[in-house]
Amino acid sequence: MNARKLTLRAIALGYLLVILVAPLSLVVWRTFAYDASGAWKALSDPDTVHAFKVTLEAAAVAVPLNTLFGVLCGLAIVRRRFPGKGLVNAFVDLPLALSPVVVGLALFLLYGRTGWFGSWLNGHGYQVLFALPSIVIATVFVSVPFVAREVIPTLREIGDEQEQAAHTLGASSWQTFWRVTLPSIRWAVVYGIVLTTSRCLGEYGAVAVVSGSIQGKTETATLRVQEEYENLNTGGVYGISLVLAAIAVTTLILMSIVKPSEERY
């Protein structure tokens, strides 16, 4: 190996070490070395358990919804022609471009007492803001792009010849989707789901604005970290952070195990 390759590798590894590995390891180390009992105490606190439950509930709605939307949207953008296609394509990326806090503010205005939807919903006895629905809506919003963004280039790459072949062999559109299209894009979908899940678990800004962070009610795991930090309960901060990081790392490891080595045929 020549010196140039070595230098490049050292820079890449060094960068990863400083930006990713070091902070993550620090979380692990601090959790156990610093205040392990405090971490455990914070994690077994019913409010923390509830916070994780809220996070998972929001993800449980957002992930399937955005997977379905992402696949359908990808198919529409790549395989169909319709007016306003460019606009749809651009709008899918909007949640990536917007700061989550702005998203939260927009939802706040929309669902607030005097907002367009809020006034009607409040009039009919539905509470959206400072309740689970607003957390779910915010989470869905910020995690829209990931499946679509993974699926679109893959659909473009495989082209539509295999689908045409399936049609000439007698397959309906539905059969073609299940037997040909979906198996061809399955790793893009899986990867999209992993990214969507990570985004849902990590969401902070938009949810912080709309949920009100009510302990044991509308507090998510990430908001709980903030809460513990403000209460100077460092053990709790590390403990909850560790669990969040562990979930993320586990999903990534699981995926690399399940995914076959020849990822693209």
């Binding site: 010849e161 295999q162 072949a165 399936a166 049609h167 000439t168 397959a171 061809s184 045929y265």
Partner: protein, 317 residues
């Protein structure tokens, strides 16, 4: 089963792909659609298969109007230039696809696929994935897949276009033999006139979205309908208003009144055949084809002056 295309037109934006095309394909025949790229031959094939919707005109297969029908309801087998193999399926699953869609019993599928794989000489490779096959093998798998559902017509879109020359001739012969055995009405699209002449009973020559001539290979070569067919199917020299094939030029070393003078620019030895590039005084170029024996007798050399006379020529209008 017969195919009849009546007055079909198709545009893509400003580009006219098909301009009032009508053709009839006889049952059990092997017909080639021949033309340069952009001539509309592939579009015509895709219109027959239902993969493209014509702007006007109609398509009949076995006397049944198929014009508005979806591809899956037409009973056609289609073979793609770039194979369109189902990459996530094994060779067996690829060939079995059409039968699985038709919910045939498993034992029957297994038997039929085994038969087909033997027919296309892929037995023993049933468990492989398309990525583990060569181009020629992939295309034979594509053929087996199309034949599995016993289509009433078999449509091939430049099936050998992506293969190297040797495999291409091999598969061409093999397709001809397969057709002689199965007698499935077959339409093959190609831009290679040699391929069309070699494999087909009848050739439809297309140019700019129109049919220029429909004829058997021999008639097409000997009695071309117009200038385009004359120059596209086989080589032709232009002598004033007339066209002369390179092998219809007689070469002599002495002038005799009706001959024209020319200089040999290049001699190309192609085994049995020798090809000469000549330049006339006025700068016009001629291609002459003679046999090796003739060339040896004349003791031809580069830059030599020779005299040519057409033995047979064609004039249009």
């Amino acid at each position: 089963m017969s195919i009849s295309v009546r007055n079909v037109s198709k545009r893509f934006g400003d580009f006219v792909a098909l301009d009032g095309v009508s053709i009839t394909v006889a049952p059990g025949s092997l017909t080639a659609l021949l033309g340069p790229s952009g001539s509309g031959k592939s579009t015509l094939l895709r219109v027959i298969a239902g993969l493209e919707t014509p702007d006007s005109g109609s398509v009949f297969i076995e006397e049944r109007d198929m014009t508005g029908r979806r591809p899956q309801d037409r009973g056609v087998g289609f073979v793609f230039q770039h194979y369109a193999a189902f990459k996530h399926m094994t060779v067996f699953q690829n060939v079995a696809f059409g039968l699985a869609i038709r919910k045939r019993p498993r034992a029957e599928i297994r038997k039929r696929v085994a038969e087909l794989l033997e027919l296309v000489q892929l037995d023993g490779l049933a468990g492989r994935y398309p990525s583990q096959l060569s181009g020629g093998q992939r295309q034979r798998m594509g053929l087996a897949r199309a034949l599995a559902v016993e289509p009433s017509v078999l449509l091939l879109d430049e099936p050998f276009g992506a293969l190297d020359a040797r495999v291409r001739t091999e598969l061409r012969d093999w397709l001809r033999r397969l057709h002689d055995e199965t007698r499935t009405t077959t339409v093959i699209v190609t831009h290679d006139q040699e391929e069309a002449m070699e494999v087909a009973d009848e050739v439809v020559v297309m140019h700019r979205g129109k049919v220029e001539q429909v004829a058997g290979p021999r008639e097409l070569y000997d009695l071309p309908a117009n200038e385009f067919v004359m120059t596209f199917v086989g080589q032709a020299n232009r002598l004033g208003d007339a066209f002369v094939r390179p092998h219809d030029l007689e070469l002599t070393l002495e002038p005799n009144g009706t001959t024209r003078e020319a200089m040999i620019e290049r001699i190309v030895h192609l085994g049995f055949e020798v090809r000469l590039d000549l330049v006339r005084e006025d700068g016009e170029r001629l291609q002459v084809q003679i046999t090796r024996d003739e060339a040896e007798q004349l003791e031809l050399e580069s830059r030599q002056i020779v005299f040519v006379k057409p033995t047979r020529q064609t004039t249009f209008r």
